[in-house]
């Protein structure tokens, strides 16, 4: 990338500079600046570091909107408009949640990033004994098409994109999303939206699994194949790295394990004879971009985008650029925030938004200042929307595309990250792929070791946390004015609602469609036996998530966790 004579001259001058300033170097507060992933940050970066790391402008950096997409997916970046502003939210009943989402949409939210309650995520209806104490708490309880009709009443799915976070029953949630949009009169060919539906990370980082990995993967591939023709602008899967990060994984493990999961989904589709370019454009990603190790976060996302493009082109022989695009629907996890002096979290959120914007994310979602105190309040959620608007409109970060490109440091770090991701993915490949690495407990154990090291680092004061392990205020009495508390009557109201649904729908239609679903699930997956059509039929008959999951549980059994401790 640089002329040989220039580099030689630079090498000599840099050596002379270092010799002249040796005395200053001794005043540095640490002998080494090492990241949690073990990357040592050098004192200063120059073109020499890029040359030594083998960074090639055309191969590695290139132009925005062109392969390998290091500089972003779009040739014009945010010059055509900001990223999508999302806020993970959802609580209690479909009726109350409808009001919350309408209010957030009025504040400028353009993606409803729907939080589901735990029973629904685990395939239990509100009246199931396993649901006791959890209905409508960590998210909204939405178990049927009727619930969707209520929750999205007056919210135009043709304009507001919905991203649902419900994984093991993801295919059923997609069916509800498509049918609700259709009922509103939205053309499915133009419908935008996404489902998280990333079951593999549930086995290692989030714990909301139901079925064993193989049939779960089948549901994902069926959804990808089905939506590619029926709803081509809808993303049926969002492969996640944010949960690995929240579990405590360092940057390298976080991204490498997510990419390994992405590889497994694509491989599974390709092995079923589905063209990689049919399903490739339907994949999006939920990465993390918190304020810690700010430049590492940005380099991490640039490297991830580049590596996924290379994996799709070289490993899977994709031909369409859309198949190679790593769409960053990025998020921040609550572990980056502190309980102490809770208002400081607004600064952290704003910096996280900046990290996401500088990385060229397609969507940004932040955690709230009261996150360490409980389920977020609406006031705190609106503050996050404002943080993004300040970064986007007032700072003007989007005036040029990929403003950090060409920084000796950021380009070096991007290359360094990519190399480390490749090494870790090779390790997983050698174990026989991500499913084997999940079953053996390798992935979870590796991340747990990272989490434990992090905790010890925080307790030893080596990892700085303002207000917590430095600049503590012993007389700190600050606490959010309002802390969200779940209404204990929600559970009973939801139990009654689901009973009412069962009384009013057509029983015969429900049992007919559930029977057809069972028969399809018991047969092997083929191009003629995609589970999405029978799921759509059952959802249309107002079968619930609990009833459909019971069918699958019966046929496929349940996942048994490997011992990681």
């Amino acid at each position: 990338m640089f002329d040989k004579d220039f580099l030689e001259q630079l090498r000599q001058q840099q050596a002379a500079w270092a010799a002249a300033h040796q005395g200053s170097f001794e005043q540095e507060v640490k002998k080494e600046f090492v990241s949690e992933a073990g990357i040592v940050t050098r004192r200063v970066y120059t073109p020499l570091d890029l040359a030594d790391a083998g960074v090639d402008y055309f191969e590695d950096t290139g132009f925005p909107g062109d392969f390998p997409f290091t500089r972003g997916l779009s040739p014009i970046g945010y010059r055509a408009g900001l990223w999508k502003i999302a806020q993970y939210s959802g609580q209690s009943t479909p009726e109350e949640c409808n009001q919350l989402w309408r209010d957030l949409a009025a504040a400028g939210l353009n993606t409803v990033y729907a939080a589901y309650d735990l029973p629904t995520q685990l395939g239990y209806d509100p009246d199931h004994p396993m649901a006791e104490g959890e209905v409508g708490r960590t998210g909204v309880s939405l178990v049927s098409l009727r619930d969707w009709e209520i929750a999205f009443d007056g919210i135009d799915l043709g304009k507001t994109m919905v991203s649902t976070v419900c994984n093991a029953p993801g295919a059923m949630v997609i069916a509800m999303n498509l049918l609700t949009a259709q009922k509103q009169g939205v053309d499915l060919k133009v419908l935008q939206g996404s489902s998280q539906n990333d079951v593999l990370k549930e086995y290692t980082a989030r714990g909301n699994f139901i079925f064993p990995p193989e049939p779960s993967m089948r549901l994902v591939v069926d959804a990808l194949a089905y939506c590619s023709s029926v709803a081509p602008n809808f993303y049926p899967i969002t492969v996640c790295s944010v949960h690995q990060s929240e579990f405590g994984a360092n940057h390298v493990h976080e991204v490498a394990f997510a990419l390994a999961n992405g590889i497994a989904y694509v491989e599974s589709a390709v092995n079923r004879g589905i063209d990689v370019d049919v399903i490739g454009p339907g994949i999006m990603w939920t990465t993390s971009h918190d304020h810690h190790a700010f430049f590492h976060e940005i380099a991490k996302l640039r490297a991830m985008r580049r590596l996924w493009a290379r994996i799709m082109r070289d490993r899977f022989k994709a031909r369409k650029p859309e198949s190679m695009m790593c769409r960053l629907y990025s998020s921040v996890g609550g572990t980056s925030l502190m309980k102490e002096q809770y208002l400081n979290n607004i600064a952290r959120s704003a910096l996280a938004a900046l990290a996401g914007a500088l990385a060229g994310a397609q969507r940004i979602d932040l955690r709230t200042y009261d996150e360490q105190w409980g389920i977020p309040t609406k006031d705190a959620e609106i503050t996050n929307i404002r943080c993004q608007q300040i970064v986007g409109y007032e700072c003007g970060v989007g005036e040029t595309v990929d403003p950090l490109a060409g920084s000796y440091y950021v380009e070096w770090l991007t290359k360094e990250m990519e190399g480390r991701f490749v090494e870790e993915i090779e390790k997983v490949d050698q174990m026989g792929g991500t499913l084997r690495a999940i079953e053996s407990g390798y992935i979870k154990r590796t991340m747990l070791d990272d989490a434990y090291r992090y905790q010890l680092g925080v307790e030893a004061g080596e990892i700085p946390r303002v207000g917590h392990n430095m600049f503590r205020q012993d007389d700190d009495q600050s606490r959010p004015v309002r802390v969200y508390r779940a209404d204990p009557s929600v559970e009973q109201r939801r139990i009654e609602a689901v009973k009412e649904l069962r009384r009013t729908r057509h029983d015969r239609e429900v049992s007919r469609t559930l029977k057809a679903l069972r028969a399809a699930a018991a047969e092997p997956a083929t191009s003629d036996n995609n589970l999405m059509p029978p799921i759509i039929d059952a959802v249309q008959a107002y079968a619930t998530i609990g009833e459909m999951c019971d069918v699958f549980r019966d046929v496929w059994g349940e996942f048994k966790e490997p011992k990681v401790f």
């Binding site: 104490g133 714990g207 909301n208 747990l448 434990y452």
Partner: protein, 137 residues
């Protein structure tokens, strides 16, 4: 030497309450208590109150450590205490960790929880508390 051999290691069951799958916190505590010399049994995810009591009895533990991040403790902790009584573990030490709001702490203690370790707790403080308050049977 003989008396030292007889001194059994403190046995701790760590488990999540309810359906929440975020087990980073409880697993980090498991590692810490194990490094502190205790015998840790990790109960895994999605156990109901009765199942938690059953494991506690089978493993004859001295301490049951519950982790709640999803605000289910107000509903589930009293149910778990009931189930522990049913299997004869009236005096097992029950600890609670995770997202426990300040006003819930006295409620949890009244329900029989010995101590609550919320957000920001140091690992060594949990180990110290157990060592001070438990005499292994």
């Amino acid at each position: 030497m003989g008396t030292q051999v007889a001194a059994r290691r403190i046995r701790v069951l760590l488990v999540k309450t309810g359906l929440d799958g975020h087990d980073r916190g409880v697993l980090v505590v498991a590692k810490a208590l194990s490094h502190a010399g205790m015998e840790v049994i990790y109960g895994g995810l999605h156990l109901r109150p009765g199942q938690i009591a059953k494991v506690a009895a089978e493993e004859s533990v001295d301490v049951v450590g519950l982790s709640s991040l999803s605000d289910n403790h107000r509903a589930l902790v009293p149910r778990i205490m009931e189930e522990l009584k049913k299997v004869g573990l009236d005096d097992v030490m029950v600890l609670l960790g995770g997202f426990i709001q300040d006003e819930d702490v006295p409620v949890m203690k009244a329900a029989g929880v010995a101590e609550v370790f919320g957000v920001g707790t140091r690992l060594e403080d949990i180990a110290k508390y157990i060592r001070t308050h438990v005499r292994p049977a």
